[in-house]
Amino acid sequence: MKITTTVNGQIHENDVEPRMLLVHYLREALRLTGTHIGCETSLCGACTVLLNGVSIKSCTLLAVQADGADITTIEGLAENGTLDPTQEGFWEEHGLQCGFCTPGMIIASYQLLQRNTSPTDDDIRHALEGNLCRCTGYQHIVNAVQYAARKMRQAAGTS
């Protein structure tokens, strides 16, 4: 089936099998391998991307469901080489070790900050329940998201 997607601002036209998962489409058809496959059972969130502005697990969607959609992967977050505040936060606050969960974790954090500009630590932990990390113990991830939240509030003049 022919599908058209806009991924990180670029339009793509591809012919895909209906059974192709969105995560395989992104990684294999579009060679955007920043989105990871961690669990195969919709638990770990390493495959999280934004679809029409909303965070979803790309391993649990068919590529054909994304026909016509606007998708942002981790590769599309930085603008003109400038890191998104979420990415900067993960860097500054050491929110990663092996980095496997990180793309999904950052996209999920981005979604949280779109919906809540002043999350508490509990809000952050709750919002990241769909993203599992085996390395960090999550504390530095929480710190990273708070860093990003502060930076975004400062930029908006609402700090």
């Binding site: 697990k57 391993c59 649990t60 969607l61 068919l62 054909v64 769909g130």
Partner: protein
């Protein structure tokens, strides 16, 4: 894992969807948010030869009030439900249950219609709709019918739906005054599914007696069920902690559970009695507020 191959159809109207389903009644599956179906297809536990995607039918998505009844379209996402001011005010049990499902990403994509039609034994929605005895609208190529939630969940992953029917709407009553509710669950930490999930709603009389009470449990037996023994014990009683505790101890009467990798049957049943008490206490507190 990769699903088996299938033909993918995307109808542009409900009428077209029911026609397509009518011509493939035995081997077609309806796709809404896909967050029950696609995990099953990835494990090859479901291998439909035809998938009919109704996820973009906007007419099936949304929440509205009609004469004291709240109507949820089947394509309403769990996030739509948890963030709906209308639901939070007029039927908070539904909003609270939605907020407890899975995680943010799952709630962004999964839908109430899909969840209920699939009837996973540990899904959260069945508990809430059972407690409220929701009216569920089913449509096929010849017409439509309504089934009450208490007649809907039959057996493991088996509902009253015929293979040619599409679930289109769920109707629940708006809360009467002096009504409080709670949905509490013990979530399996990775999947978010309920080891036990208890939906409780209580309406108090002006003298603080329990006029109406509904308790429904998920995660424990092979379908969600009403804890009728608890309800019968509490109805008409003063809403005291002692009465609630006594009634909650009856929550698992008639229920059967099995051991699995997450919990033993005995533990699930024990958790259910504890969480029934907590949910009822919270419901009563909220009714009194």
């Amino acid at each position: 894992m990769i699903p088996s191959a299938f033909e993918y159809l995307r109808p542009t109207s409900l009428a077209e969807a029911t026609r397509l389903l009518a011509s493939n009644p035995d081997d077609a599956k309806i796709l809404s948010g896909g967050h029950s179906l696609i995990p099953m297809m990835k494990l090859r536990l479901a291998n439909p030869s035809v998938v009919i995607d109704i996820g973009r039918l906007g007419e099936l998505r949304g929440i509205r009030e009609e004469d004291g009844t709240i109507v949820l379209g089947a394509n309403t996402t769990h996030y739509d439900a948890e963030s709906s001011a209308l639901l939070q005010q007029r039927c908070p049990l539904m909003a609270e249950t939605a907020a407890a499902i899975g995680d943010v990403q799952v709630r962004n994509a999964g839908t109430i219609g899909g969840s209920i039609a699939h009837a996973d034994p540990a899904a959260d929605w069945p508990a809430a709709v059972l407690a409220l005895d929701a009216q569920i609208t089913l449509v096929n190529n010849s017409g439509s019918r309504t089934v009450g939630a208490t007649d809907f969940f039959l057996e493991l992953l088996t509902t009253a739906m015929e293979s040619d029917e599409i679930l289109t709407e769920i109707r629940v009553p708006a809360n009467p005054v002096r009504t409080g509710s709670a949905y509490l669950k013990v979530a399996q930490p990775a999947s978010g599914f309920a080891l036990t999930g208890v939906a409780a709603q209580v309406t108090l009389g002006s003298d603080n007696t329990v006029e109406q009470v509904a308790v429904a449990v998920t995660g424990v037996d092979n379908t969600a069920f009403r804890a009728s023994a608890t309800e019968n014990a509490l109805r008409g009683q003063a809403a005291t902690e002692a009465a609630i505790e006594q009634a909650a101890n009856l929550a698992t009467e008639g229920a059967e559970s099995t051991d699995d990798i997450h919990a033993s049957a005995e533990y699930r049943l024990h958790l259910t009695r504890v969480y029934t008490k907590r949910a009822l206490l919270q419901a009563v507190q909220r009714a009194q507020a």
